[in-house]
């Protein structure tokens, strides 16, 4: 239990629209451990993204608790949540969501400077990370619209990493990328996970899901099943067989 960084207790999320209520998450109990690469899968409308954003403090649950580092973040105010996110969470979105009026470096520093005031150190760290993911200085000085989707998404991952968060949330990070760019992004995430950082990723994509060591299948707002792939290395064909069997069982 000491390794657990995030748990949910009877987590519910209900959306209301013109008197109609839609229960998206229903009494969901979940536990994320440090160093886990958790993949959330499920059919469309199962509540995957809703769960991801509730876990990350981007949205508030209707009922239930989200315990992060021993504190119930569901009770936090919006500003308190913002302070929480900047220190503890990193985000990678399907639509990338870099600020298009800033260069790639500035996008990273705009997040980094929220936590660290040492601009030079931060810039060095960011530059090193850029180099690590294969983005040269010539590229990081460019605007998001001036680079490819893969390059932009790699920059987004660096933005997510710059404050050394305890957990990274990724929502379909390869959804808008071609195969090669997607693989590069997944390689980076795997590398980040290997370095000890927890990752929670929502995906529809089998290839992406294989990177996770724990698969949670969500259906109608509840955890329908869970599969552990940690015992197989990524290249092991049994890993994909295990995953396919699990997904088949879940009715995917």
């Amino acid at each position: 239990m000491s390794n657990t960084i995030l748990t949910t207790q009877k987590l519910c999320k209900t959306f209301s629209n013109q008197g109609l209520q839609q229960h998206v998450l229903k009494n969901l109990d979940l536990e994320i451990k440090g160093g886990d690469f958790t993949v959330i899968m499920g059919p469309s409308g199962a509540g995957k993204s809703t769960l991801l954003y509730a876990l990350s403090g981007m949205d508030k649950p209707t009922l239930g608790k989200i315990i992060f580092g021993g504190r119930d973040i569901s009770q936090f105010s919006n500003d308190h949540l913002a302070l929480f996110r900047r220190k503890n969470c990193g985000f990678v979105f399907q639509q990338i969501y870099l600020m298009d009026n800033m260069s790639l470096m500035d996008n990273v520093l705009a997040a980094g400077l929220l936590v660290s005031k040492k601009k030079k150190t931060l810039a060095h760290e960011a530059a090193a990370l850029f180099e690590q993911v294969g983005i040269s200085e010539g590229l990081w000085r460019k605007f998001p619209t001036q680079v490819s989707g893969g390059e932009a998404q790699r920059a987004a991952i660096i933005r997510a990493l710059i404050n050394q968060p305890r957990i990274i949330f990724a929502d379909e990070p390869t959804g808008s990328l071609n195969s090669a760019a997607g693989t590069a992004v997944l390689d980076i995430l795997s590398e980040v996970n290997r370095e000890g950082r927890s990752i929670v990723m929502v995906t529809h994509d089998l290839k992406s899901a294989l990177r996770g060591n724990r698969i949670i299948y969500l259906k109608d707002g509840a955890v329908c099943g869970e599969c552990n792939l940690a015992e197989y290395v990524i290249e092991d064909p049994k890993r994909s067989e295990q995953l396919l069997a699990f997904l088949k069982e879940m009715g995917w």
Partner: protein, 783 residues
């Protein structure tokens, strides 16, 4: 047509907040423009109409009865263009009247209410009582601006005697009865008139009035009459205090001066506001094109022609303007009676403007056409928009933007750097806001200048109007007492200085001028001198600068001056300025006048008191010490307070109105711009929230985004307002002989106003940016 209207309505529905803001802009601009136009054009017209209805004379000449001859009447009757002449016996002389409890020096005319009077006969306003021996009809100004009521006690000083009456009614007076003319006609019963005539044999006078085919010829008739009769050797007392004349145009211009200044200020402000509205409309159109780029692309893809989309934008903004302008015109209709009442206190003219269809239509056409034109021009760039590019939100695969303020190489707080980035990325928007804020700051500082200089610290304005402002004026019954009294006055410890200073009429280069006479102009403390120097020697004069320009005279030139049948050339040593119709004024030394009129002596003495001396106490003292030698003793500060106090209230109202509109405009502009910016940057703000920015940080960032532009705009506008107001005011007052004014807003007031505007803009930005709290990162991703 149907389709374009439908598109326009859809756009209005989509941006209701912006539509309402533009509506308010159009409403304010139309209200002010209509108010200004009605004041500017209708007030003078109303004066003419009332003058015709009351058969107001086009020239009035008041002279001593002994000086009035049949020959003069014949001259008037036979003067080309004269259609009617009337001669009445009156009593005329210097005196004091009381306005709001303070006495003020004036010329008093008593007329017999039962006497025959065809021109401007006593026209009673409101309730009245029949006259008896104790009662009096007084000019309407006494009620409108003087605090007197029907049935109230009325005290008046006439030729040194205090007289008491009961007010039986108020008369509508055009030639005599306004602050600026300072000549008041009072009607008493036949019996009381006879009694007054017996009591004041030296004040018997004649009022000769004439009406002409063309009223503007009154000025020429006045001049010709003066040349013919007032300055001849036969006229023994040409400068006798109750000999004076007015032409219709002079009366009209003095009585409509304040409304004229007000209307110019209001129209100027309306024009500034309208320019701001056009800039805002341009900004809104560009913004709506940017926001609705995909819609435009979709419409074009559907087969809509660019022209149709442009026309829908013209409909959108033209329609809002029409509604705003119509509402503004209606609103101005409600404000006009209020302005009429404010003006009554100075002009004593009852002005109840009706609905002026012509001016309303002019305002509507001008404003709507301008908006439609600017909309058409700005929306024209839709023509160049390819449907595919529009569908892709205008994005091109390659662009060559530069990264301004790279965060890793720049110094400063994060919020500041991010806001600066935002600012540089939106240079055109920044320029728009900067220009608007500069215009509005200019108007604010101009309003402060008007309020401060006419409402609070009136010295400069009064100096322009009256020229010289001593503490006390003493008017002697006998001019022979002047020298000895001056010696005694200058020996008194509470008197800083005393000297003779008064005005007389004379002819200079065929112009009938008001000449101010003093022995030594170094004694003067006012700021009449504009260029060169005051006259020192008996052969020198200084002319009003405007008049000098009109007649082509320069400093160093010579001018022929005529008085009492004598004439001689004088050297022009300088130019002066003083508020006088067409600048017809000059100054001349006492010794200089003696060369034309050897028996001339002062009757009016100006007294400057030592600091801490009360004028009222000094007047009491000097009356006791000198005896019954005064026609009038005037506490000038009290007189100025009573006469100019109402100007202060009027211009305070104007300044307050301008400042209120300024605040409203700042709020509206920032509302429009920040709302549009938040909408446009919704995704970016959502991302920032997602990565951990708090609402307060984003609010500060948004507010700071505008702060440099606001500071720059306020600085430019403030400086222009501070230093540019005087040339502007001088241009307005130029026709009245004013060539230079020094009436800036006090530096501290300017600085405080500028700081207040910056603080207001920041506060308003923060308040509007508060809507950022509604943007949740979840909304961003779920959208």
């Amino acid at each position: 047509m149907k389709n374009t209207l439908m598109l326009a309505l859809a756009n209005i529905r989509k941006n209701k907040g912006s539509a309402i803001s533009l509506l308010v802009f159009a409403l304010i601009a139309a209200t002010l423009l209509n108010l200004g136009l009605v004041m500017s054009l209708d007030y003078g017209k109303h004066f003419d109409t009332r003058a015709e209805q009351l058969r107001t004379p086009h020239v009035v000449i008041v002279q001593s009865e002994v000086l009035t001859t049949d020959e003069q009447k014949n001259y008037l009757e036979n003067y080309p263009g004269v259609i009617e002449v009337e001669k009445q016996n009156i009593l005329s002389g210097f005196g004091d009247h009381y306005l709001n409890g303070s006495n003020a020096e004036c010329i008093v005319i008593f007329a017999n209410a039962a006497g025959e009077q065809h021109m401007n006969p006593p026209q009673l306003i409101g309730e009245s009582y029949p006259l008896d021996n104790e009662s009096i009809y007084v000019p309407y100004l006494m009620k409108a601006g003087g605090g007197h009521d029907l049935g109230g006690r009325y005290q008046i000083n006439f030729a040194g005697e205090e007289l008491y009456f009961t007010i039986a009614g108020f008369t509508e007076e055009l030639p005599f009865g306004a602050l600026m003319n300072n000549v008041y006609r009072f009607y008493v019963s036949e019996e009381r008139y006879a009694a007054l005539a017996a009591d004041f044999p030296d004040q018997h006078a004649c009022l000769q009035s004439a009406r002409l085919f063309e009223k503007s010829l009154g000025l020429q008739l006045e001049l010709d009459y003066a040349k013919e009769f007032s300055f001849t050797e036969d006229n023994e007392e040409p400068s006798q205090v109750h000999s004076f004349s007015f032409a219709y145009n002079v009366i009209k211009s003095t009585r409509t001066m304040i409304p004229s200044i007000m209307s110019i200020i209001v129209i100027a402000f309306a024009v500034i506001l309208f320019c701001i509205s056009l800039i805002v409309i341009r900004f809104r159109i560009l913004n709506s094109i940017e926001e609705g780029l995909t819609n435009i692309g979709a419409l074009k893809a559907l087969g809509y022609r660019s022209r149709q989309i442009i026309i829908s934008i013209v409909w959108q903004f033209g329609g809002i303007t029409i509604i705003g302008v119509l509402a503004g015109i209606i609103l101005s209709r409600f404000f006009l009676p209020l302005i009429g009442r404010i003006l009554e206190a100075q002009s004593a003219l009852i002005w109840e403007p009706g609905f002026n269809w012509g001016l309303a239509a002019l305002s509507l056409l001008f404003l709507t056409f301008s908006v439609a034109l600017i909309s058409f021009i700005v929306a024209g760039r839709i023509r160049k928009l390819h449907p595919l590019i529009a569908l892709r939100k205008g994005g091109l695969t390659h662009n060559f933007r530069k990264n301004r303020i790279p965060l890793d190489q720049s110094y400063g707080p994060l919020s500041f750097l991010l806001s600066l980035k935002q600012l540089l990325n939106n240079k055109k928007q920044a320029l728009t806001i900067g220009v608007i804020i500069a215009l509005i700051s200019f108007a604010s500082i101009a309003a402060i200048s008007v309020y401060y200089n006419i409402g609070i610290e009136q010295d400069e304005f009064i100096s322009i109007i009256v020229g010289e402002k001593p503490d006390v004026n003493l008017i002697l019954k006998n001019s022979g007492d002047a020298d000895s009294l001056l010696k005694r006055l200058n020996a008194r410890p509470e008197v800083r200085k005393a000297f003779g200073f008064e005005n007389i009429s004379l002819l200079a280069d065929e112009y009938n001028l008001n000449a101010w006479i003093a022995k030594d102009f170094a004694d003067l403390e006012g700021k009449m001198l504009h260029a060169g120097r005051y006259p020192k020697y008996e052969n020198e004069v200084a002319l009003n600068g405007l008049l000098a320009k009109t007649i082509g005279k320069e400093i160093g030139d010579r001018i022929v001056v005529k008085q009492s049948g004598a004439e001689r050339e004088f050297l022009i040593t300088g130019f002066i300025q003083k508020w006088e119709e067409s600048g017809k004024t000059m100054v001349m030394t006492y010794d200089g006048l003696l060369t034309l009129q050897s028996d001339y002596q002062y009757r009016c003495l100006s007294v400057y008191l030592a600091k801490g001396t009360l004028a009222a106490a000094f007047i009491e003292d000097i009356k006791k010490a000198a005896g019954d030698i005064f026609i009038s003793t005037i506490d000038i500060n009290e007189q100025v307070d009573s006469q100019f106090g109402s100007y202060g209230a009027t211009f305070a109202a104007v300044a307050f109105g301008m400042l209120t509109v300024t605040v409203l405009v700042v709020i509206l502009i920032l509302y429009l711009v920040i709302k549009a910016m938040i909408l446009r940057r919704k995704q970016e703000l959502g991302i920032q929230k997602a990565i951990g920015y708090t609402t307060l940080q984003l609010m500060i960032q948004t507010a700071l985004n505008f702060t440099p532009v606001v500071i720059l705009g306020v600085a430019i506008g403030g400086l222009c307002g501070h230093f540019g107001f005087n040339p502007l005011f001088t241009a307005i007052a130029r026709s009245s002989g004013i060539l230079e004014t020094h009436m800036p807003s006090p530096t501290v007031w300017t600085i405080i106003t500028c700081l207040a505007l910056i603080a207001l803009a920041y506060l308003v930005s923060m308040l509007i940016a508060w809507r950022i709290r509604k943007i949740s990162p979840y909304t961003l991703v779920s959208e």
